[in-house]
């Protein structure tokens, strides 16, 4: 990718790697259904903050890595992450100006749409969702958005990534 040579790219890559690790961290069974999509949240943040550097291609590639890492159908997370990146870039001008709780609501919508798409693909593959719990990560993700936003903004300002 073009932006890898630009200053600060390693910070972006490190945060995305951290997101990947957080996503596959083993959790006690009662936390499991609420596990937020860390990588998606971090991707959406970078897409909104630096839309000229992190975009659909990055999202798509990350999704492919998630697919192969989790051993699921190749392309399902790629599609969803690509769409998440698209939504973030499409709406970043408006969403960036919203107060934080309103941003969290928009993020909730994004995440729910992505979750729905993932569950459709799973359904086609023979794993139809049996209850509504597959929306739970979207909810916890939206609740986490303020923290992610503030933390990553501090990181971005500290390393002066433009």
């Amino acid at each position: 990718m073009l932006w890898i040579s630009q200053p600060g790219s390693w910070v972006i890559i490190l945060t995305l790697a951290a997101g990947f690790i957080l996503d596959s961290l083993p959790m006690p069974p009662w936390v499991q259904p609420f596990k937020p999509d860390w990588l998606a949240l971090i991707l959406i943040y970078w897409c909104m903050a630096l839309p000229h550097r992190v975009g659909i291609a990055t999202g798509w590639l990350l999704g492919l890595l998630v697919d192969s890492g989790q051993g699921v159908l190749l392309g399902q997370h790629a599609l969803v992450y690509g769409i998440w990146a698209f939504c973030a870039i499409k709406g970043y001008r408006q969403v960036r100006l919203f107060p934080i709780w309103q941003q969290a609501l928009i993020i909730l919508l994004f995440l729910m749409a992505g979750r729905l798409l993932l569950s459709w693909i799973d359904g086609v593959m023979g794993y139809p969702p049996t209850d509504w719990w597959f929306f739970a990560p979207a909810l916890s993700g939206a609740l986490l958005w303020p923290i992610i936003l503030i933390a990553l903004r501090d990181v971005r300002r500290h390393y002066r990534i433009e």
């Binding site: 083993p26 890595l65 989790q70 699921v72 190749l74 392309g75 769409i83 794993y127």
Partner: protein
Amino acid sequence: MSQVTPERPWLNPELVLNLKLVVVVIVSLVIMLLDHRTVYLQPVRGALATLVYPLQLAIRFPVDAGQRLHHLWIDQQALIHENQRLRHQQLLLSAQVQRLSSLEVENRRLRTLLDSAAQMRERVLIAELLTVDSDPYRHRILLNRGQVQGVKVGQPLLDQRGVVGQIVYANPLNSTAILITDPNHALPIQVNRNGLRTLAVGTGDYRRLQLPYVPNNYDVQVGDLLITSGMGGRFPHGHPVGVVTSVEFDPGSPFARIEAYPTAQLDRIREVLILDLVGYPVRDAIIDDPH
């Protein structure tokens, strides 16, 4: 990335963005279709999986470090006790194996007499569990052995109590396996008591298997041991799978409602045995038989 440079003013950024989305959607759909229907993408999957493997190992690092610390501080008395216990266990097991090996030779001789086609020989590989699929309904696990160590798609997994699952993707350094309780997994089994053959289907619950294709008038009882029948050609015959926990005869349906409890402890496995089955003709077996 879609920033318009002044030299290319005809490129509308909105248009470029939308086009990118269309491309991503189409490419993803094609990839999904290819991956579902064919095996052509297996090398790509392997390469990508190897790329993220260090991250997955990083997840395990704290656990491993904790264990190492524990080993460092474990007291000598406990070690001696454990050593003694293991020694006894080994003595017991090796006595059993002695009997088994003579039985195996006898079995093989009888099979030659009966002109039975092929006998399987097994090699085993021990693999550790790296991660469990985060989707609670999809029972898949990631193992730390791959093609380099000889893992192939379709190889059966066992633990010390019974059948665990089978390999679905073999990457260069790791592999993904599906458990027998995954809703998409069906295992050819046999009731040990009377040899009745049927399928055990996963339910999405680590402690439940279903036997949906047993007619109402067949003889299955609570407590029956289920073993692999060897029918699908993937699992060798005779490994324990589960114990029947409930049998309900439903006069309204042609099949009985039967459930079983898997003997393998699927929700707390940490290490599994990967079986490498080497089929070979019986005559060769007699010739290179070491006994």
